[in-house]
Symmetry: none
Amino acid sequence: MLLSPAISVVLVESQGGRNLGAIARVMKNFGVADLRLVRPRVGHRSPEACRMAVRSVEILEQAALFESLPAALADCHLAVGTTRRFGRYRDNLLLPAEAAAMVATLPMGQRAALVFGREDKGLTTEELDCCQRLLTIPADVALPSLNVAQAVGICLYEVAKAAGGGENPSPAREDPATGAEYERLYDQMRQTLLAIGFLDPRNPGHIMRAMRRLLGRQGMTSREVRLLRGLLSQVDWLEREGRAARQPGRKQG
Amino acid sequence: MLLSPAISVVLVESQGGRNLGAIARVMKNFGVADLRLVRPRVGHRSPEACRMAVRSVEILEQAALFESLPAALADCHLAVGTTRRFGRYRDNLLLPAEAAAMVATLPMGQRAALVFGREDKGLTTEELDCCQRLLTIPADVALPSLNVAQAVGICLYEVAKAAGGGENPSPAREDPATGAEYERLYDQMRQTLLAIGFLDPRNPGHIMRAMRRLLGRQGMTSREVRLLRGLLSQVDWLEREGRAARQPGRKQG
């Protein structure tokens, strides 16, 4: 899905095996394969990590280990660090969608890194200094700290969206109804509802207008128009049969 | 952060305590408090769930339990179901940002529900039928299935983004229909359409699903639900009269 540019997820001093596994999974969800670990505090191939990784264990297995953040970023053209301590960085701070737009539009052959810090205290000032841009995920003051795997998920979701992977998989709705189809439907509906006594012949417009509003609002497909017309035809038939049956002298079937 | 509209997260048959805890945390991250559990398969106050909930345990403690999805949605005006099986629902499918825009612009006093299914197989067709709109998170074909807590996180992130993005332009449409009203309408419709022979008794679901999609897509008002129910009652009456008239020996009027 994400072919260009190359994207790396860089984790500094990760403490939780489960988080590593969850991160591998969500990386694969969004088509990102390159995981870089700076001094991890936990085994990245632990059973716990692998259990959470669900069909993305290869990302853990192929993760590269680094002794320092600069080493992990050495071949990266754009490093975006994540932080919640934005007091001093305001002028450099991006929202996830803004960072994603930068990452997704890097020229072919360039590599972008998204850098995430420790579960408990994030990235240090020195580590943030290694990043060209900083990113924060706006969250509620009552609990602003996201789980690191959630943060990775949201950032990669935005990158995938910006890279074009986020197009709605539903193609144009099949055969939207035309104005003529709508009108034929409303004509038939009016006749049927008059015949069964649901419309007041002195003021049929009132209810018909409500029907138009209800059905027009959603935009119908041709198929839906045919479905409703079929239903109306069935009601017509019922009405005719009932009327015929009530005729005196009609032969009972 | 999200004061209006009211938002509920609805989980159907959750299987993982850790996921429940992670979901509570990310709900609090994005200022959403109302958690509804339909037949959970795991204790929502288990130590495992509470450990993952990190300062959001009150969301687990206050979670409401329901026996069925319609019951959980009874007071909701917009229910958005999440799915990856979008073959037959294409015309109804939203991206997270599109769904978030709908949720975030619901008028004051209306409640929106985001509905998530089982960890292993999501929501059933019948459960998706209870939702007016469906949402899918585009993901890589190599591993399209997101962890449910990740899916909740991404959806709420988008809702928070949409809610913070601007003021609500839409004045309240009078009396939007609730989930309970929708279900009573569909119950009556099903009975009537069976009685008049418009539904195939061996497969009534096919057409009923098309009706749900057509009517649920944009949201009905209570008044519109009453209008359609009145129409169905009229058809019922017609059908009974016709049947009675066809009885041999009935006195002709």
